[in-house]
Amino acid sequence: MASDIRMIARGFWHPPGSSRAIPATLSGTGKTLFVSADGDSRDPLTMNDLIKVDISARIGSIPRRITFADGSMFETADNDAVDHWVRNHRRGGFVHELERFHPRLAVVVVGIILLAFGIYRYAVPAMVEIAVLVTPPAVTQWMASGTLLSLDQAVFSETELSLEKQQEILDGFAAVAAVSGRGPEGYNVNFRKGGAIGPNAFALPDGTLVITDELIALADGDMDMIIGVLAHEIGHVEREHSLRQLYRAAGTAGLIMLIAGDIGTAGEDILTNGAALVALSHSREAEHEADRISVELMHRAGRDPAAIGRFFEVIEAEFGLEGDSSFLSTHPGTAERRQAIADYASELKSSGAP
């Protein structure tokens, strides 16, 4: 029998429940492993059948640990020797083989980049659609009331608009909202003095719309323009743009977290926030869509469909802003938008019936 005994590796042996380390040798015969103290090979310190020992999986070049049924543990840095012996007796470590620094890792890198791109391009948008579908109204209401409350505290002050003027706008709006999907009851128009954010209007996902005194002043009595802007906001609500953006940002952040794994605390915050910013670039499409809906609704309600285009003209004249849409700008260039609005309005007019 002595002739079958094969020395496997040298290392340290820890007795059961002890941290004492004894220089020792691991040997094997058949499917039996045993450990003997260096210089005393006749009397094994411990022995077990292969089935009863736990051999830690190979990871990089960290020491290999072989735990015996009695709680004692043999530790060796000679990973290759252990692998060689294990391979002859049972399946080796597939994952470690994959992890070894080897040219094939380049394939893994390329594969991950393609996978990540595929997920970003196809899986995230699909998930966003599903998430939008299953989001209950209670959640959007809660989000909207929270946003409005914090804006009221931070930026807005009470409107200085006369009640008659408010009522006039509300009546005009009700007529347009009546031809929209949600109907007039689906919306709640709020008047505020914009303060730092100036002439502005925006929509919250539950149908809460806010329009600032400054914007109404800018319209200079052009009621179609004001209603056109509000119709644009209806477009955002009906297509659930803000929810989509929120989910897209969350999905992208999730993707980054999945890939980065252990990215580190500060890095994670900044990268995921950056991803959210990039996700906002999608909003250009959303603006175009809302513009088209404004044109449609105004046309159906018997008002001037191109009114929203005039609003951009005023903005341009007032602020002298010009420029083409780019990756980073969230709003398309106003000239481009005006052109698209004018084209669509004349298309609707020529097609006849509302």
Binding site: G17, S19, R20, P63, I259, T330
Partner: protein, 354 residues
């Protein structure tokens, strides 16, 4: 520690990290690949391999640590956490009241979860075949986490050193290695000495962020482009949010590193061996910052290098001041029996990295 001249000098044993970026790259990239291919399920096993790599390469006194968690344990923990989040969200939409109750329940459960998590993390860590253990109780966690958190929050961070003291006394005074105890009593004076620079960084940074935020809001007012500037509003919030996050991160790093040094140097193992830590705050900050920049520039591909670099610095600036022969510790542990053989049925609690 003041030693009598005739007495032996404590022998400083510094940590040593033997991993390298090249080896870890393979482990990291394969972890990502398998995590994506299994839609996240593999992430539990990925965590085990990552931690085994870092623990197994961290040496003190020429022996390394080991990490014993099983992928399945971690997976079950994660499934429970995700299931709770899903159930919480469903309940919240069906009945907001019940949802709030569930949320409060979670808050009450938090100390228990933290306690279990500390215990899990201690018990799956071993050194020289002996496992660590954590004997803290829920009430202690309640005082340390909720009490400490409230005190430091309500005092805008001014009483944060008290919270740190409670927290680390709770952690270290309940930590065991085999049957040996750790004891820690960080001095408030020392904690306040590391707190002061961090607080000054925070104050100066907060002033700069407030200035930037004001600038961002005014720049929106000037560059109004469209009827709905919800997006620009978000951008402005980012203009304030990102600098604020960065300041929190920077002062947080300075404080955490300082606290680590104070706490470890105030911790005694087995009544005489003192732990040791001499991380440089500026040096560590530089490592985190440059790691982040390099990771971003290389689209994350240098992340393994960065992780190894940060880990190496931390390990090499930690250690233990051994007072008297270390063999004494070892043999006394040997006599006291085994904590190693037990296969703990604990599952991963709420992992902070998750």
């Amino acid at each position: 520690m003041q030693q009598a001249a005739a007495d032996h000098e404590p022998d400083l044993k510094r940590g040593e990290f033997r991993g390298n970026a090249r080896e870890y790259f393979g482990i990291w990239i394969v972890n990502i690949l398998l995590t994506i291919l299994t839609i996240g399920v593999y992430s539990a096993w990925a965590k085990v391999r990552r931690n085994r790599y870092f623990y197994g390469n961290s040496y003190v006194d020429s022996h390394s640590f080991d990490y014993h968690a099983r992928g399945l344990q971690i997976l079950i923990g994660r499934v429970i956490v995700i299931a709770y989040i899903v159930i919480y969200n469903i309940v919240l939409t069906i009945s907001p009241i019940a949802g709030i109750v569930l949320g409060l329940l979670m808050l009450l459960l938090l100390p228990w979860i933290v306690m279990r998590s500390l215990r899990f993390n201690a018990r799956i860590t071993s050194y020289r075949n002996i496992r660590f253990d954590f004997t803290g109780k829920t009430w202690g966690a309640f005082v340390a986490i909720i009490g400490g958190g409230l005190v430091s929050f309500l005092s805008i961070g001014i009483l944060a050193p008290f919270a740190s003291r409670w927290l680390y006394r709770y952690i270290f005074n309940n930590l065991r290695y085999g049957d040996r105890r750790f004891e820690s009593d960080p001095r408030l004076g020392a904690l306040y000495r590391v707190w002061l620079p961090a607080f000054i960084i925070f104050l100066v940074g907060a002033a700069i962020a407030a200035g930037l935020g004001a600038l961002a809001i005014f720049s929106i007012a000037g560059s109004d482009m469209g009827g709905d500037n919800e997006i620009q509003l978000i951008l402005a919030m980012y203009g304030v949010l990102i600098p604020t996050l960065v300041i929190f991160a920077v002062s947080g790093i300075f404080y955490r590193v300082g606290v680590r040094n104070v706490v470890m140097n105030a911790t005694v193992f087995d009544g005489r061996h003192r732990l040791f830590s001499d991380l440089g705050r500026r040096r560590y900050f530089w490592i985190v910052l440059s790691n982040f920049v390099i990771s971003v520039i290389t689209l994350g591909l240098m992340r393994p290098w960065a992780a190894v670099r940060e880990h190496r610095y931390t390990i090499e600036h930690s250690g233990i001041l051994v007072d008297g022969p270390l063999d004494d510790v070892i043999s006394s542990i040997e006599r006291s029996g085994s904590a190693a053989a037990a296969e703990y049925l604990d599952i991963e609690g709420f992992d902070f990295g998750f």
